[in-house]
């Protein structure tokens, strides 16, 4: 658990980076063989693309790198099967599906996401399919599950959200609460 906390610290650093850039403060790291090989933070405001969650950013770093190394689809799938994700907030339904599609091994998250969490809160996409793949290949590959552990340093993750909503979301549509930068 000490190792998990250390990786979650790194994810929280990413979330703080997002907060400093007036983004929704969620951050993550992807770990392979006990090493952080990728990190990401929410960039929905900067990109004006509401799908650019921290997980998507960190995933794209790896896909780009592995394609540059010349790995093909099967090799990339094998790589993801040896990777764990640490993210400050429960992956949403979109990201949970994405992580299942990639076949990630394990996910650790901070606070739960009771609006659109995809790893137990609203849907349970980490559970995958109970039946195993049809080896004959006549059926499409079934949903892959991944092990999922929540509640790691959840208070820290929530505290960042609280900071964010107190300062206001500059990109939210009108009417919204005024954006205030704390006087330092």
């Amino acid at each position: 658990m000490a190792a998990a906390a250390a990786f979650m610290e790194r994810a929280l650093e990413q979330a703080k980076f997002a907060l400093d850039n007036l983004e929704v403060p969620v951050g993550c790291v992807i770990v392979e063989d006990g090493k952080v090989i990728s990190s990401g933070s929410n960039r929905t405001n900067a990109t004006r693309n509401a799908t650019r969650h921290a997980e998507m950013e960190a995933i794209d770093v790896l896909l780009r790198e592995w394609q540059k190394m010349g790995l093909d689809q099967a090799q990339v799938a094998e790589k993801f099967a040896g990777c764990d994700l640490y993210v400050t907030c429960e992956p949403c339904i979109m990201c949970a599906t994405a992580l299942s599609i990639l076949g990630i091994r394990e996910v650790y998250f901070g606070c739960a996401n009771d609006k659109f969490g995809g790893c137990g809160s609203i849907m349970s996409l980490h559970q995958g399919s109970t039946s195993s793949d049809d080896l004959s290949g006549s059926q499409p590959p079934r949903p892959k599950g991944f092990k999922c552990t929540g509640g790691i340093m959840a208070e820290e993750a929530v505290a960042l959200f609280r900071c964010f909503y107190e300062q206001g979301n500059p990109n939210a549509p009108r009417p919204h609460r005024p954006v205030r930068i704390p006087q330092q």
Binding site: D60, P143, P170, N171
Partner: protein, 409 residues
Amino acid sequence: MEWELTEVPGNLTTSIQDSTVDVVAAKIESKLANTLIRQLSHICPLENLRHVKRVRRRTECGKSELSIILCLSTGYETCSKQIPDDVQKIVDTYHLNPFAAKVSKRPATSKEEWEEQCKLWPTSYHPAHDLDIVRGFREEELPSIFNCMKTAIQLSKVGNTAVIVDPSSTQIIAKATDQTHQHDTSEEGNKFSEVRADDTCSLSEPTDNDGNLLLPRFFLSKPNSLNMEVSCINPWGWTKQRTMEQKPLPGEGCFAWHPLRHAAMVAIENAAERDRMMFPSSTSITKPDSNGNLENYNEPAKRLKTDTKDKEQSADESCCSDLFETSRPYLCTGFDIYLVWEPCTMCAMALVHHRFKRVFYALPNPVNGALGGVYRLHGEKSLNHHYNVFRVSVPEAYLNGLNDGSKQC
């Protein structure tokens, strides 16, 4: 079979009796109402029941009576055990007589449901959409809706296609096809740059140009069978793909293939790119004003109403420089998306995040469909945004017409 539009409901109706919560209430004198509301909402807020009104007014025997919800019921038999100490103090102070009551658990989704709910205990009701748009679309929109779907079908080569449309002008905002497999980067239809301002959905009757389109393979062979090349139908199939030869990457930041680049995801990215190009002024958030306040930062106007009256009004109000900003949409608020195939949970949630108003698809996805096929994500109450979902039934004669067109080439 004719072109047809049917709404895909977000939930299958549940009876109101299954969806209530027990509470403890008490009759109060009207002069105490304000004091008690303030005290109770402080010590015993009704979390998750924000749609429920704290106080009920009823007229009995010509006399108006007020009752207030004290707290949620804990399920014990007698009322006294159900009340937390803080609330009990209020009960004692004001000599109240608690009684059990039921309130509806969830906000009403229709006027009828709301009227039913209010028989139990009053709730507030916020219609999700403009009242004048019955069923989520207007009858006169149908030809344009069908044309937009034709555009999507005609763009479809292999896999799914997504077309984002501003319904107020039927202008195409962005379009994309699946990019999960290795693709030819010169492929048409995925390029944002080819979207012109006058590119509307109104020109989709077969023309000479259309005859040159590579027609959707899935219509040519077995129209009713599942197409495993559609990313949303077979999202886990990417690992089985083999790259024949590793082509050099198309450029910095691009991918030769990408397991998550389903048509809807790419279309959203193209729409975001268009937004950044058309409205570049607010990309960088720099400094707050002297008060440390960013309130006047160029935030996009919330765009829910798409009627022309709004536009004229905003044009009048803004001298010149604001005009562009007021027409800038917030994400895809107010926009529609047309998909040939029903989206998977990843894409359907992406459409929630990106604030689409309506989702239209032609063919259901019984394997991984998130909008009726397997799940009904759009009926999930906890989400922070909801869109309407429609299925467009495409006549076989139209698809056969496409086939004939291909033979002529």
